[in-house]
């Protein structure tokens, strides 16, 4: 694997393979010495054109646990904010000898453009491109689901038969897109729920069922309910009348929570807006996997970095 740009490109065996390596990486975190020498001498650059402390930190921890040299190249206060474009930044990083670039960009396709350009030869790892994809988020979500389902017996398994409901701003969500493709590849079925304004107007080719009514979806007894964040800029652009109405119709409140099975997973990619898309009760309940997702994020990102950088050397 040279790059990780989207989950749509992943076949089942590759995806399960990544999750299995992530299992090994998770074991490292339980040791007293949380570090492997695997990527010693490799340079990984966190190239973040958009602020994201959580994702950036997660990659940073992952790279360091594998003994790679990790350099943060953030847009704020750098030449990027002075008008330097993707091309010059990429060429600069190439000249510095980056082996992998973890890129977060507000433009959809930015990671693919980097990977297909002649500007830089490094492995490109998409850490979120616009409203397109966020593949490591979907991988860590799948890892979390698999772990809750199968525990120690997770290795080698996919998510066949799992029924996942994703709720919220599907239209602008790269997390939703990456999850739709990956969950489908892993054998899960996906139900999307949102007001029509926050769904793409044309979802031909999406392997999903779509509904507008969260209560119907809850009553259909899903195995996983994944809540997406509502971003502040949507509140004032007529996607819905006001936050109260959104919360009432598409928020996971305590009453809806109580109608879920005790072992139904409640997921959220974070950061959460408590009281809007998810109640405090739901976020903190035993069904919630929010903190597991964060922990698993490190393992999954270690696995991907390992496969991109060490795996490439072997093949």
């Amino acid at each position: 694997m040279k790059h990780l740009l989207s989950t749509k490109d992943l076949d089942r065996d590759t995806a399960v393979g990544i999750l299995d390596v992530a299992e090994d990486m998770a074991d490292v975190a339980t040791r007293e010495m949380k570090k492997l020498p695997t990527l010693r001498g490799k340079t990984v650059i966190n190239l973040f054109f958009e602020d994201s402390t959580r994702t950036r930190t997660s990659f940073e921890v992952a790279a360091k646990r594998l003994s790679a040299d990790l350099i943060n190249f953030t847009a704020k206060g750098s030449s990027v904010s002075k008008g330097e474009g993707l091309k010059d930044t990429a060429q600069t990083l190439a000249a510095m000898g980056a082996d992998a670039v973890v890129v977060r960009h507000s433009a959809s396709g930015a990671a693919q453009v980097l990977a297909e350009s002649k500007w830089i030869d490094a492995s490109i790892l998409n850490a979120g491109d616009g409203t397109h994809e966020h593949p490591t988020q979907a991988l860590l979500d799948a890892f979390t689901m698999r772990k809750r389902l199968h525990g120690e017996a997770s290795r080698g398994r996919d998510l066949a038969g799992l029924r996942v409901t994703i709720v919220g701003d599907i239209l602008h969500s790269r997390v939703a897109r990456s999850n739709v493709w990956l969950l489908n590849t892993l054998g899960a079925s996906v139900n999307l729920v949102a007001p029509a304004t926050l769904l793409p107007s044309n979802t031909t080719g999406w392997p999903v069922t779509i509904g507008y009514d969260l209560d119907e979806s809850i009553d259909a007894d899903p195995d996983v309910v994944m809540m997406l964040r509502i971003q502040a800029e949507r509140m004032h652009a007529a996607f819905f009348p006001n936050p109260r109405e959104y919360s009432r119709q598409w928020g996971l409140d305590d009453e809806r929570l109580s109608r879920l099975r005790p072992d139904t997973m409640v997921m959220h990619p974070g950061p959460m807006v408590r009281g809007l898309e998810i109640s405090a009760g739901a976020a903190d309940s035993s069904r919630s996997t929010v903190l597991e997702q964060v922990a698993n994020g490190v393992s999954v990102r270690m696995a991907v970095l390992y496969l991109l950088l060490a795996g490439a050397a072997e093949s």
Partner: protein, 445 residues
């Protein structure tokens, strides 16, 4: 004097042509002392006329100049182009349009017809000096805010009415601005998957529907720029059936390319209006063949490399198209059997000239008519490359594609601008243009 032997006319017959003093003359007895061009096996077309070109000068000379755009046009077989108004300063006064026209005259590769802005600075708030531009030496007849839509219904009504005074036309860039805020590509299955903000067909169709009704109400002439959707075709067809004075253009790229190309995130495919679905492409081809769409216009939109070497969202809209237009029309329309060369002559020469009120293109090849023509070899094909681009822009979506046809010669006002597939030297063309101007002035005196 130039004699062209053995060329196949658009109607399929074969004939020799003679040119003298900038005009076609009777071929009988000509030959001695002439430059003879053997055109056996070539199609001879009337000089091509583009109603929609961005020459970028004044103001954006890093993208294109009147000279470089004129050379690209001549290389593509054009003898006249209409230069859009979105320059800096905007072509909204007599001074700017006269400057652009005179630059075109000096360089001489093509006749440059400036398009005047509808509103001051393309701001969409106040009418520009339309009458002054119409009455200037440039005699502007086409007015457009292209790049922006005249979205204010009242302003559009007034503009349509006002240009009636002197037989002008409003060429509308039909794009409802609120429905296309931050829009990046056609709204549909592909945009949903790629996470690129959608440019819905309804944003074009709703403006065309409004404008044809306004044109009907005030009895004015409307031209619809770069129609891109099947729904727009239906609206235009309906309007024509009602007798509304509407004409429409389609670009070569909308006749061939689809939004599937955006999957590469290669910003050479980013254009406004965006590439649409295959159903739209097919509907546009049928509409062009049946006359619902009147003409092909290039929307040649050169950009410097840095405007395209970036993420899709950050890239400029637009493609260059002058050099490839005829090949694309052959590929999409002629080789598919939808139209013949006589139709090509009509949609790329006679009708665009008629819409732009450009004289001299109504009776091609007839003795006495201005000698504007293109010799085209439709039998060859080659991989389109950077060496085929003669303007400053390299933002062509066809680089690396196999394209049919090749322009062998272009003759503008009686003198060659392209010979044996190569542009004639700029100084030589400028001299010939000057000589042609003085002889015209002498004959008028």
């Amino acid at each position: 004097m130039i004699v062209i032997t053995g060329a196949t006319l658009p109607d399929g017959t074969s004939s020799d042509l003679a040119i003298e003093g900038g005009r076609f003359v009777d071929v009988a007895g000509k030959g001695a002392g002439s430059r003879v061009i053997d055109a056996t096996g070539l199609v001879v077309l009337p000089g091509l006329v583009d109603l929609h070109t961005h020459l970028r000068e004044p103001g954006f000379e890093q993208s294109e100049t009147v000279l470089t755009g004129s050379r690209a046009a001549a290389a593509g077989g054009f003898t006249a182009v209409h230069a859009m108004a979105n320059t800096s300063p905007v072509a909204d006064t007599a001074g700017v349009v006269e400057q652009v026209q005179s630059l075109g005259d000096q360089h001489g590769y093509v006749t440059v017809r400036p398009v005047g802005a509808v509103t001051v600075g393309l701001g969409g708030e106040r009418l520009s000096e339309i009458g002054a531009m119409a009455g200037s030496r440039a005699r502007v007849r086409v007015f457009s805010d292209d790049g922006k839509c005249v979205s204010d219904a009242l302003l559009m009504r007034r503009a349509l009415e006002y240009v009636k005074t002197f037989g002008g036309v409003i060429a509308q860039h039909s794009q409802e601005p609120r429905l296309t805020e931050d829009a990046q590509m056609n709204e549909g299955a592909v945009s949903a998957e790629l996470g690129l903000a959608g440019w819905p067909a309804v944003a074009e169709e709703s403006i065309i529907a409004r404008d044809v009704l306004l044109a009907q109400h005030v009895g004015a002439r409307l031209h619809v720029c770069h129609v891109s959707t099947a729904g727009s075709v239906d609206v235009v067809r309906w309007a024509k059936a009602r007798g509304i004075h509407v004409t429409a253009e389609v670009t070569p790229h909308h006749l061939l390319l689809t939004d599937e190309l955006a999957r590469s995130y290669d910003s050479r495919y980013k254009v406004n209006p965006p590439l649409r679905r295959d159903e739209d492409v097919q509907a546009l081809r049928v509409a062009l063949a049946d006359g619902t769409i009147d003409i092909v216009a290039t929307d040649h939109a050169p950009h410097p490399a840095e405007s395209k070497q970036c993420a899709w969202d950050e890239a400029s809209f637009g493609m260059v198209g002058l050099e490839s237009a005829l090949s694309i029309v052959q590929l999409a329309m002629v080789d598919t059997g939808l139209i013949g060369w006589a139709d090509v002559a009509s949609i790329l020469s006679r009708k665009p000239a008629e819409i732009g009120r450009l004289a001299g293109y109504d009776a091609a090849f007839v003795p006495g008519s201005p000698a504007n023509l293109t010799l085209y070899d439709a039998t060859v094909s080659h991989v389109f490359g950077l060496e085929d681009l003669r303007g400053k822009g390299t933002n062509s979506p066809y680089l690396g594609r196999e394209l049919p046809g090749r322009v062998i010669a272009t003759i503008h006002n009686g003198y060659p601008t392209v010979l044996e597939g190569e542009l004639v030297d700029a100084a030589e063309v400028a001299l010939a243009a000057q000589a042609a101007r003085s002889s015209r002035e002498m004959s008028q005196a």
